[in-house]
Amino acid sequence: MGYKITKKENLSAIDFFMEVEAPHIARSWKVGQFVVLIPDEKGERVPMSVYYADDGRIGMFLRRHGITTFKLWYEFDVGDEILSITGPLGKPIDVKYYGNVVFVSDAVCAQAESYATLKAMKEVGNYTIAIQTFENAANVYPEKYLAKPVADEHYLTTEDGSVGIKGHYLDVLKELIEKDKVDIVFGGGKLGSLKKLAELTRPYGIPTIVTVRQIMVDGTGMCGSCRVLYDGEIKFACRDGPMMDAHKIDWDDAIKRNARFAEQEKIARERYLAKLREKGVI
């Protein structure tokens, strides 16, 4: 027995949206929590951010990047079932009044979290600001999938300047901080950017809570794969996170640990793409 895919749509040159029927998760999911999914019998367990949990369904953004997301894009359509989806996992974030709340994002998982977080933050009266960064125009999502509807201020940036503001969320955030209108920053995406984000907000003492993306297996604190150095102590991103204080994370170690299976991931991806080429799918 599996979980039915109820929607699937392309978001950009690289990302796509997928919605899965999973009432057991949708009823208890809270902002900040994630899910683990497995496409099929031979699949791996992959942690995924949640765009929304609504009406018994879980909406997610995925990047065509590794074997799992390629599989989901090329082999699974609306009506098909995936083998497993588990959650909600991790700790929810504290949704309360902070004042001016910024969410910064520069990769697929965080674009999903941007919408989810700011929606919840706006509902409790915060002034919400989204800064969403994409590499280029081809990677930008259709407007309805951006965090615009839940943001009082919305900034779209591309690194090559092909759409929106030229630059990175770090550039826009720096300006906002200098205008003295940031009470708290939430964020996610590329770990390298998060390291820079931590360095940017630290001197100002601005609380900065970000998704610490790490390789996971079970997602419940059982395997220890996602361990990170946090304030000098070992913590598990799945159990103690995934959203954690960016100022307390040892980012250099976190970045290294997240690349542990790069070789294997490449083998799996190349092998899968070769199979698709052979079949004439791509």
Partner: protein, 482 residues
């Protein structure tokens, strides 16, 4: 006609094993078990102590009527099906998972340790006989009729029970309650049932197919298993208590202990849980045929000396690396089963004793390349567990290793105890229970590693069984007072 007094046969009938050279490169099961003729021969060695005295029954945490099942086995020498059916009926009265326990129990410390035959020769090979009964019954379709028999006599629906976790404690509790006539639902966090039996114990010791069939039997008994359900996250304990008459928590000890020494974040340092889960549950040894990867080098050091360490070491060996087990104490203090240590030795696992890791040394890419150990020295004094105390010598050795697996123990996962306020825990995370295994919340029972910290499969099953009885008493008393 009375039987002639049998002659005592001191030696066990051996069970065949897959030759070392064949097994070290595959995950096939190592021990092949008895056939009926050899099982019968071994059964004949049993001197049939009366059940009220039999030391084997006392040594078994779930008190299987061992002389009883052995007698049943040999009463029909010309009709193996009948013999096995009768023997299985005796075993099932106390244990619904004999194919598992026959394989993974440390029999030498339990049922077989006090066996009277052990005083004059080798104890009866109880574990392998139990395994034979289970395997033969499964292969010859003997279980179905017996399942109907067990379901028939329980007088129907007695109540609803939720079981959290599908490891040995949960499966046993569920099986016992189902036999009594309860509607049981198991909630399992992973996408496959079995708990530590599926993610922790390798195929070469407990084939997945056998475990799956044992679990299918529970489903036949009417047990429902909800996978991908994390109690404490997906559903709260309170919600379960609203829907069920009682709850059993058998969530095990799933949180790995880590060494708090420099270099712990280096690449290719795994906890045994991560390493074994990738291999057993996710079949990473078949990568890239399966998607879950495992990265392993040429020289592996496993730190620890329990069954988990042996499982990790032998799994690593099968992935093609040299393996050394490093233990801070001596050989006699290793906690793994003797059979597992022997298998590891035969397969070429090396051992380093009296070495305590102090630092992991990495290369320029952040991968581990060596482990620095302090040499330890044993003292004459013994600690509370009867193990010799050890002290550091101030001397160090460094062993090369491009993969390290840490198997130094586990603690309970705190997901439920953090969520359910009112569920009391000890400082080590184990749940507080009374003599009936009831936790601080009325109607919520617990057993296995969730209350013990770290123990064996069979002790967990003993708890599951004891809790099932307590749950039955609790629900019936509650209904009587309602």
């Amino acid at each position: 006609m009375a039987r002639a007094k049998p002659k005592l046969i001191k030696e066990r009938v051996p069970t065949p094993e897959v030759p070392v050279e064949e097994r070290v490169r595959s995950f096939v099961e190592v021990n092949l078990g008895y056939d009926f003729a050899s099982a019968l021969k071994e059964a004949e060695r049993c001197i049939q102590c009366p059940p009220e005295y039999a030391p084997c029954i006392k040594g078994c945490p779930v008190h299987i009527n061992i002389p009883g099942f052995i007698r049943a086995l040999r009463e029909n020498p010309d009709n193996p099906d009948e013999a096995v059916k009768n023997a299985l009926r005796v075993i099932w009265n106390d244990n619904t998972l004999p194919a598992v326990t026959g394989r993974v129990c440390p029999q030498e410390e339990q049922c077989e340790a006090p066996c009277v035959m052990g005083k004059v020769g080798e104890p009866i090979n109880i574990g392998k006989l139990e395994r034979f009964v289970a395997d033969y019954a499964r292969k010859h379709g003997i279980e179905e009729a017996l399942l109907r028999e067990f379901m028939g006599g329980n007088g129907g629906m007695k109540g609803k029970v939720a079981v959290v976790g599908s490891g040995p404690a949960g499966l046993t509790c569920a099986g016992e309650l189902a036999k009594m006539g309860y509607k049981v639902t198991i909630f399992e966090a992973l996408h496959k049932p079995g708990g530590v039996l599926i993610y922790g114990i390798p195929e070469f010791r407990l084939p997945k197919e056998i475990l799956e069939k044992e679990i299918a039997k529970l489903r036949e008994l009417g047990v429902e298993i909800k996978l991908d359900y994390i109690v404490g996250k997906t559903v709260t304990l309170e919600e379960l208590l609203e829907e069920y008459d009682a709850v059993f928590i058998g969530t095990g000890a799933g949180t790995p202990k880590l060494l708090n020494i420099p270099g712990i974040l280096l690449d290719r340092i795994y906890t045994a849980n991560e390493f074994l889960t990738r291999i057993n549950l996710m079949k990473a040894y078949l990568f890239p045929e399966y998607d879950e990867p495992i990265a392993i080098g040429k020289k592996t050091i496993v730190i620890g000396a329990g069954n988990t360490a042996m499982d990790a070491a032998r799994s690593a060996l099968r992935l093609g690396t040299e393996v050394t087990i490093a233990y801070r104490r001596g050989r006699e203090d290793m906690t793994a089963r003797i059979e597992e240590i022997q298998h590891a030795e035969e397969e070429g696992v090396k051992f380093e004793f009296f070495v305590n890791p102090v630092e992991f040394i990495g290369d320029e890419n952040g991968k581990v390349k060596a482990v620095k150990f302090e040499k330890m020295r044993p003292l004459d004094e013994r600690d509370s567990r009867g193990k010799r105390k050890i002290v550091g010598t101030g001397e160090y050795i460094t062993l090369e290793a491009d993969t390290v697996i840490i198997a130094i123990g586990l603690e309970p996962n705190r997901i439920i105890s953090e969520e359910a306020t009112g569920l009391k825990t000890n400082s080590d995370g184990t749940l507080v229970v009374d003599e009936n295994l009831m936790t601080s919340i009325p109607g919520v029972f617990a057993g296995g590693d969730a209350i013990r910290g770290e123990a064996t499969v069979i002790l967990a099953m003993g708890d599951g069984k004891k809790a099932a009885k307590a749950i039955h008493n609790y629900i019936q008393a509650k209904k009587a007072n309602a």
